[in-house]
Amino acid sequence: MTATMATTANVLGALAEVYDPELDEPITRLGFVTSCEVSADGDVEVILRLPTPQCAPNFAFLMAADARKVVRRLPEVREVTIKLEDHYTGDEINAAVGRGEGFTGAFPGETVDDDLLALRELFLRKALVGRESRLCEALLRDGGTAEEIAALRIDDLPDTPDARRCIELRRDLGLAHGHDEPAFVLPNGDPVAAAELTRWLRTARLVRMSLEVNGGICRSLLQFRHGVAIDDPEEVLR
């Protein structure tokens, strides 16, 4: 063993950067990482398990491929194996991810979309809308007016996980995210105007609720099927 040896802790740390694209939550917090082993030689094996065997193969693929990417970036790591267990299309996904191939490698003849960029973007936009609505509601609760909130810049936002994630999401979507940019934007990057803030929030809040409810159902199903107890934002947030 050397001082630069990869550890389970830093592999798990890397996996915390992998988000479930559909729920916008790290796979580690959702309880999707069932095991993570690092051999003496620095070979890593990560086992992933989703709430049901029927969970959408496209999102499952993205999580497995992203997991491989972040773990391979760790300098001390040699071979990386990602295994998706208990899933209808697990074999196809595991084989393609193991070969470093895209989505077409897993489902040849059934798709021509190797990177699933459109799918990923659609859910990055939903995630941004959802996070912004949570930030906005907190500001309104603290007495902010629509005019004040619409005038805020990114730098004015409190340093919270939601605010930091909004900036990441804007970066990933190719939207302006500099210090002086408007804090609240539509998914196309246009600022939310004060006059439309209430109407925007009504729809944004629904998007957020949908993401949260789906996350809640996923957690409950995992809990019931495998006795996995996971930290639960429904209880934690308020």
Partner: protein, 349 residues
């Protein structure tokens, strides 16, 4: 009829099943799918109160006696609508066919309605079968299950050109209620398979038909709400909302119901127990007792009244299925649930 606090409710369970998912019915070579499917359903049962959970063995195939007890004797259900889901690639005799459901209807003709199904990938043979089923079972509704696997295909959409032929056939046969169910679906593989846009298109092109979106489009409630608010003939099927959230996630339940009442409205929401996933008893009793909390968090959601609950629990579905409701169980102030024509008036206002 269910009575509580001096009020009487006519209860229509618009989404229930009588299935056989026992190992004897699994297609050889497809066992992992047949088993995975029913185990997934069984996990959903886990979202209900613990005292209502069944062992997996019973869950795979419950008896007629179980059904009668859970639905009629203790479940407060006045009328049940049995939905048909075939899944014959995985289950030899089908998971929950119209034929199997009809056997139950024969025993309780005054209490049960069977819905048929169609699959546009079956082409001419499918159209002919739909015609036969409509006559044999006097169909007023069908369930379409876009996630079904069929000869190498992993699903279909209501916008597929063949689907319109089947919707036209429904109109011709007097079938007016289309219960559309999306999940758990995996196709199209590279897009959001839960997207409800195809239902939106079909609802717009077929204003004579009612589209009941089962499980309110979960996991895409937001897309469903944005659609339903614009389409007068789109309804919210509450199966899974009540069974899956009211007990397990009460805060989310309040919010989902609040959003549905706001976007879709109480005249277009239908109770469904999803039995055998969940027993109706605790769902009916819990829903009648349910109140939107008065706290700030829920302040701008509509707050349900007794009338709201009477509509959702039965009167809305009774209207769609021409079920006669005894006079004393109708709304007192003559406030019948809004008809499609009423919704259109609002739409064009």
């Amino acid at each position: 009829m269910y009575q509580k606090d001096g009020e009487s409710y006519f209860v229509v369970d618009a989404h229930q099943h009588f299935w056989d998912a026992s190992p004897a019915n699994w297609v050889k070579g497809q066992e992992q799918y047949a088993k995975g499917w029913i185990e997934c359903f069984h996990a959903y049962m886990g979202l209900g109160p613990p005292e209502t959970h069944w062992p997996l063995e019973k869950f795979m195939k419950y008896s007629e006696d179980d059904y009668v007890h859970d639905v009629f004797d203790s479940g407060h259900i006045d009328r049940g609508i049995l939905q048909s889901t075939y899944l014959k690639e995985w289950y030899t005799d089908g998971f929950n066919t119209a034929e199997r459901n009809a056997r139950m209807v024969e025993k309780f003709p005054d209490k049960l309605i069977v819905n048929g199904r169609f699959d546009p990938r079956e082409g001419e043979a499918g159209l002919k079968q739909l015609e036969e089923d409509a006559k044999r079972y006097n169909l007023k509704g069908v369930k379409v299950y876009t996630a079904e696997w069929y000869k190498g295909s992993r699903g279909w959409k209501l916008t597929d050109p063949e689907a319109q032929m089947f919707l036209d056939k429904c109109k011709e046969l007097g079938i007016k209620n289309i219960h559309a169910h999306k999940g758990p679906t995996i196709w199209p593989l590279d897009k959001d398979a839960f997207d409800v846009k195809d239902i939106d298109v079909a609802a717009t092109s077929n204003p004579e038909l009612n589209f009941i979106v089962e499980h309110v489009g979960l996991p895409r409630i937001e897309d469903f709400c944005f659609m339903a608010t614009q389409e007068p003939n789109v309804y919210a099927g509450l199966a899974v909302v009540i069974g899956g959230l009211m007990h397990a996630r009460p805060r989310f339940f309040n919010k989902v119901m609040g959003e549905l009442l706001f976007w879709v409205g109480e005249d277009k929401m239908l109770f469904g127990s999803d039995y055998g996933i969940w027993e109706p008893k605790w769902q009916v009793e819990g829903f009648i007792d349910w109140k939107m909390p008065d706290s700030e968090e829920y302040s701008d959601y509509p707050h349900p009244t007794t009338e709201t609950k009477k509509k959702i629990m039965g009167l809305n579905a009774a209207k769609l299925y021409d079920i006669e409701v005894p006079a004393h169980l109708q709304l007192k102030n003559g406030g019948a649930p809004a008809a499609k024509e009423d919704a259109q008036l609002v739409e064009s206002a």
